[in-house]
Symmetry: D2
Subunit: 261 residues, 4 copies
């Protein structure tokens, strides 16, 4: 039995006159290769969502074609490649609009501040492209250390501090490197984090954080100032979530700003 | 030492001229009571986010006040009460704008279709209020059964089917009951789900689903038609995520529509 | 068509001679009421797993009966009630052995150390009963603050600290209250946590933590000493997971000890 | 200031006489390379836990050394390499016993049954080694399709089916390939899953599943039979969790069997 003999239910005419904004595949795990700033390729494992619009007169889309496209592009994902993927989705799925979203862990090799020992740190990234707008959206989650200025000020000694997650989203059409977004966040905290710290490094990080206390509000303001100054950023959102060491919930702050959209 | 003698670091003047859109507490778990359609109160456990804006000349907000407000309102959460909570947040935190978001499991007692045996089904709900807009946003996640029309049509016998999650979001200012949103979703699937099914019920559900095959696209269109007809809905989004039984990823569709905003 | 006419496939004879250790329902969300130490009832929402063994000559069990039993007992869950539930499961499902596992958030009202302001703190609990052993297993997860002794010692000022999760599991046949397990964990950390802290409280907690630095190893040893002294404990495991504020991973320690099994 | 001058708090004498069973690092994300059956190397991203015991007279361990060891072995993880990692941990951390646990997504390229189109499927794997026992534990999670025999038997047409997760754990000292465990699980279900299915493939999978209905109990028995016959397996556990398409909870079964330990 050949494929032609099977009825194409998805192409049936639909009479409800309701165009569908997004239809496609969601939450597929796939091994991908992303480009990094130092010129190399980085193997990682991504969660991918791919959608197109569905004109009101079609009943369904062809789900297998999304995976075929993912197969084609999986070895070279980048902020600039995303436009080519979107165009391919529009053509292959005969769609007006296309949406591509990919979330992946990205690793940067860091040196400890004193011992210079090297190890890798993970940053969770998300890249979104839409054919309807000329820019992409890049999100980077950067774990950092925050030390509370109020706690430092009012206490005889010590100050509560904790791990925080700074989440930066930017919209841009030119290439902006994940590494540069990470730098903005790490410079906007009481201290950056490391996977390896020897004793001298731990002393250095502890003292640096105590010398640079920052509220959750200070952190997003500091990052916002740096994002305003970053070439090519059209819009940004910066959030910080401090997993408070004195509470079982988080302190949170967010700034959103349109620069050039 | 009395509280007055402790320096109020949060009220310090901030010179960076960057107003903060949202600052507050995130991901606090709290026991709450929500009202249900049949006139009763439902005890549940919620995750709550509460934010206010921070004018550019203040350095920080007062985090403890958010929890005090949550304590005050936790025994009577509803779509209409949310405006009172927002006003209280604005007053207590001396803020221009307030944001309140609460996510909780909600249970409805259902009777099996033939045996009439009763058990409870869980629906995850999220309610969001913002002082800057005159409506609230209510999201309800409804697990249902979807049976693939293509698989049914092309196969000699059987048809793949699976659990799907229909997520409906509505904006409204009048009261809309969770139960009514659940009904929209459950009527827009191949079958609704139950916590208890005896053998006669299982036969009934299996046959009903086979008689009513629906693509992920059909489900969101069907729900959209019902939401357009529902009194008081100003805007809606309806998504379905089918956890495909033949794949390890989901099929997905979404319709978004503004009616009266 | 009446139920009797439907073939009972689950009772068919199975010839593979492989007894099944556990069969039943998993991950059902259900509203339950648990008893607390101060004599009240606490409404919460649980995830429940219920299994029985299946003799090698039966092909399947009857899944709907598990939910019927859960319905019967959901309004009075306690460490002592669990034996009655297990006996009921054995009878109704004609099984040699039964297994019941329930995980739920539990709330304790706490007063801040100086201001005495009250708010609720969440502790995730898990209770497991098995008909084959005469004791139950109770697990309580307690978020606390840990301050690093090494960081304090080597630094001119400050010390990194963070939220930690102490997980205590005990086996017992007599009633042991969740509140007593929470107390063991909270006294074994640099400080306990609170949902509300005013400025005086924050000063108190910050200084107390700095005065009581503890490694992850110290915390599990301190809790172990207290569990050894707690009446009725037959076996325990105590783990601490410190979500290090200087790293993006956790420091971890565990002690397991059989006392009277 | 050189490292030697900083006091080594971790090596202090501890007088509580409580040996710690496990101490180390938990939940570190790291890029690793694992070996696959067809002779290649597979890049993936792992979560790693590494613990050693701590004799009662030491106060703490040296956390940074765990990451140094991980760095050394990350490009060649395999079931046989794990013994070398454990020995290195014992030496470097001066410990009696060592524990190494790594969880990672693993991808296998599969061909659709009729069209032969190729795409990758994800299987979540976990590998655990302990110096105190001469074998490793390998866990593989395999998503499959299950079709209910009861629903098929009692219904005029159709049968409910759904995605299930078969989790197989084996203990072994010889090399056993992930691919062979996946094959056991996929042959023990109503059908295996694929990332790409064209229309002819979907017809094939739908009909095959309808022809091979299996209860959750049947699936674990079928897998158990195959694991008993698999060379080198000393012990196994096989679980299936069926994410029922007619319920919002799972049906579950498990068989555990010691063969040669």
């Amino acid at each position: 039995m050949s494929r032609e003999h099977l009825k194409d239910i998805q192409s049936e005419f639909d009479e409800r006159n309701l165009p569908i904004n997004q239809v496609g595949v969601k939450d597929i795990s796939y091994p991908v290769i992303v480009l990094d700033k130092i010129g190399g390729e980085q193997h990682t494992v991504a969660k991918v969502n791919m959608y197109v619009d569905l004109p009101h007169h079609f009943r369904g889309t062809h789900m297998s074609r999304f995976i075929e496209i993912l197969n084609r592009y999986r070895t070279g994902i980048s902020t600039t490649k995303i436009r080519e993927i979107l165009r391919d989705m529009q053509t292959v799925l005969e769609a007006e609009s296309a949406f591509f979203e990919i979330t992946f862990p990205y690793f940067i090799t860091k040196s400890a501040p004193v011992s210079k020992e090297q190890a890798k740190m993970e940053y969770i990234c998300r890249l979104v492209g839409q054919s309807s707008v000329p820019y992409y959206m890049l999100e980077v989650k950067v774990p950092v250390l925050s030390l509370c200025p109020c706690s430092k000020e009012i206490s005889e000694y010590g100050a509560h501090n904790q791990r925080s997650i700074i989440t930066i989203q930017i919209k841009a059409h030119e290439k902006i490197w994940i590494e540069d977004i990470v730098a903005v966040a790490e410079q906007s905290a009481s201290s950056e984090l490391y996977s390896i710290l020897k004793r001298d490094d731990e002393k250095y990080v502890t003292e640096r954080a105590y010398e640079k206390p920052m509220f959750v509000e200070d952190m997003v303001r500091s990052a916002a100032e740096k994002l305003i100054a970053l070439d090519g950023v059209l819009w940004f959102s910066v959030e910080s979530e401090n997993m408070e060491s004195i509470h079982n919930h988080s302190a949170y702050a967010r700034i959103v700003k349109t620069l050039k959209l």
